[in-house]
Amino acid sequence: MSGYRLSTGGRIDRSQPLGFTFDGANYQGFAGDTLASALVASGVTLFGRSFKYHRPRGLLGTGVEEPNALVTVDRGPGRITPNLRAPQVALHEGLVTKSQNRWPSLKFDVVSINDRLGALFPAGFYNKTFMWPRSAWEKLYEPVIRHLAGLGESPTTRDPDHYDATYAHCEVLVVGAGMAGIEAALAAAQSGGRVILIDEQDEVGGGALSDPAQWSALETLKAQLAAAGNITVLTRTTAFGYFHQNFVGAAQRLTDHLAPARAHGPREKLWRIRAGEVVLAQGAIERPLVFNGNDVPGVMLASGARTLALRYGVAVGRSAVVMAAHDSGWHDALALAGVGVPITAIVDIRTDVPGELVEAVRAAGIAVHLGCAITAVAGRHAVKGVTFASGGIGPAQTIACDAVLMAGGWTPSVHLWSHAKGSLVWNEAWGAYLPGRAVENCRAVGAGAGDWSFGSGVITSVLPSAVPVRSQKAFVDYQNDVKARDIHLAVQEGMRSIEHIKRYTTNGMATDQGKTSNLNGLQIASSALGRPVTEIGLTTFRPPYTPQTFGALMGHHKDALFQPVRKSVIDDWATARGAVFENVANWRRARYFPTGGEDMDAAVARECAAVRQSVGMFDASTLGKIEVVGPDAAEFLNRMYTNPWKALQPGRCRYGLLLREDGFIVDDGVSARLADDRFHLTTTTGGAARVLGMMEDYLQTEWSDLNVWLTSTTEQWAVIAVQGPRARDVIAPLVEGIDLGAEAFPHMAIREGTIAGVPTRLFRVSFTGELGFEINVPASEGRKVWEAIYAAGQPCAITPYGTETMHVLRAEKGFIIVGQDTDGTMTPYDMGLDWAVGKKKPDFVGKRSLARPEMSREGRKQFIGLLTENPQDLLEEGAQVVTDPNAPIPVPMIGHVTSSYHSATLGRSIALAVIADGRARIGQTIYVPMPGKVIRAQVTAPMFYDAEGSRLNG
């Protein structure tokens, strides 16, 4: 193929030259060109290397179906997009592009040796050739194959572009703005409803853009679209998926067609469209013919050559041969000859071609060879000629040429129709599946529905030849390098369904998803199996229709907007104090408050000492909180939690343990009874929504007779924990209306009054083992009360502490954290919490499951403490525990470490763990094997500090 620019014609603007590069070389095209049309006009024939064999490949078509001419577009740092179809890349000044899958260069690619070693890469070669030895697969074969075979390279740096997203609703959505789609949109707009018309090309018109005879009619229709007032036209927009109930996803490309200096605003926009009715006018894609040498650069679709000439003013060569099985190839030949593209001959597999076509073609000076098939193509980087023969087996004849144009018939694009689960019906005349019965409110129109009159043709599988299929380089799927012989081999090796053949040969996979190969593959499988196409099945089309960028799918959901960050009202104060934060269930929590350049260990040691020796303050606002109100509130909690609640007196608190119905711990928390009919529940920080949902489930669907209301109050309360032997001294001057005395206000009690003039629910509770209060105040007043307490605590050197210190202090006391020390398979008994189970209660959620034999068998994991023999050894959370580190591999593992910290209070490391029959092993030595060493530790009760609890009652 030696293409060149025609002196006239096309929709390009010859007064606007545009410079661009391909593989570093400078080229020039015109405004209105695509990368493909500009390169062909510049005489380029070689566009890429094939996936597996690295065969030189040229342009096959001029649209979405292009399997070969995939390029990488470089729009600057971080803006590198691989695998774009050259015929769909709009040209702009300064466009930088490069070819893919070649090394060191496109013309000289050392890996094309794969092509000579083709016998090593038959269908299923992954599963056969490289199976042995097994160890070589990971280390040798796979990395090498991955390096040598493939498409473009993924970008490695962050994408600096941003992407927009929107929802849209309309009465009628039309996908495809060819003539049929435009007419459908105009007709729909008559009813006055909202109409959206989508097309993936730069301008509306579809196939008519390649037919100057229709241009004036097209202009009239475009004017009507603009005048309608209720039609939104989205060009450069691909409807990539059709989902339930007429929900269509579409990606609009906003800036890629512009020179980078002019590309402002979001790069793409994702449209989520809900339509009353969908009209699919996706058109049809021309089918290649399968013959020996059909992938030599210069062999392309006849419709592509026609589009190059009539839309872009580009001739594909100086002497082209048409290989046809369909009338459309003859029409294309006449159209091409009419604008000065030299057509040397038409070879048609058929003997019976409409007489008027034959006459017209002969009159144009084109040789006609009916009943013949091309059997070989000369040339490697470019077509030099073809060999053909009558019936493929007669005496060979040759023609010198520089392009071969294939006209194998048409495949209606039924992709979106299939996404929407519409049925497909085999049409023998088309040799294709056409839309049948719709499931959604949807219609197909135009060529995509088989409504098209461009003559007829015959359906072929492999063109006849004297050379056996196994010796031919006759490609079915260009992008995946699947040859006709691979499909024969798959059938020979027992594949019967097209789904199996597809997966074994990879026919129809990769970025083009079989747009040019599916039907040919089906025909070849059908003839190889000797069964009709309809008995072999059709692979399912799934979204996306074309590859989409992750950016468009993600839209604004990245960085700070990826997940909402929940902040307590103390967050600003903590930030100003230099706190280091961690994220806990979407909450941002202060982890520790370093001062004077402390690292975490030093800060945590100081914070722990302050709480144990004087007083600390902690922002516990993130605790989940639920207000439970109603005459049946106590009965409801009695059924939900393991504990008894009915006898709990107003003003008192209780530690509640919540199981799932399967008997395993799901949450815990301290809750207070404020009145006979009112409870203030707390849950874990991460469990708040789950617990409320679970409670609502039981209340709404199982016990709807109970008169109870549940309200999430997590955000309504700020919670300030003041903990330590001086806690009472600090808050006493601020509190009014509550007797803070040890007897009047004992541990696990709640009182209502004011603190710093703000109404409070004051809990006397402790998650540290020290005398402590958790001060609930309305969130709007939280910062004020926090600062008042901080000021009042200065004489006691009150110390703000974070979640890390909270964890260490509770671990010293053996208080569990659900989800860290438990894992969804732990019962109350496993965790040593059977004291919290109301055994006399007739029922509660999970009670029946606790009676299953499995739940009390020997050998279950139990919660215990571990003290390493060397007090400075810190166990790793998650590390496995064994009884004999020298046992043969695999060493039996009896459990794992769940929590592990350095305890400043004790001057040594401490750990919590769950191990089989743990309580019976107290006093024994166990081992924790780690890389390079084995750590010895002693099993203890899960309690390292103040076992008698005297500090609580200070």
Partner: protein, 99 residues
Amino acid sequence: MLLIHCPYCAEDRPEVEFTYGGEAHIARPLDPSTLTDVEWEGYLYLRKNTRGDHAERWRHMHGCARYFNAVRNTVTDRIEVTYKAGEARPPEHVAGDAA
């Protein structure tokens, strides 16, 4: 994305407002202690996994927050009907293998 009709709000709303709640019409036994282990296992774990019309629970989580029931065809993923919790499954949407 499905459009789901909330029988309490009486509106078609997008699927993202809802959460799924598993098979419907499985009542918690009034007195679990009277069940054998096998019976309790059935209540806890055994579900129909229907091919075709399947009665299941949904919750209008980001709306009225109510639980309700829906009959959804597990082959077409189409919701045939929704109805309030506690109501019987509409007889015209019986269980069974999809045709």
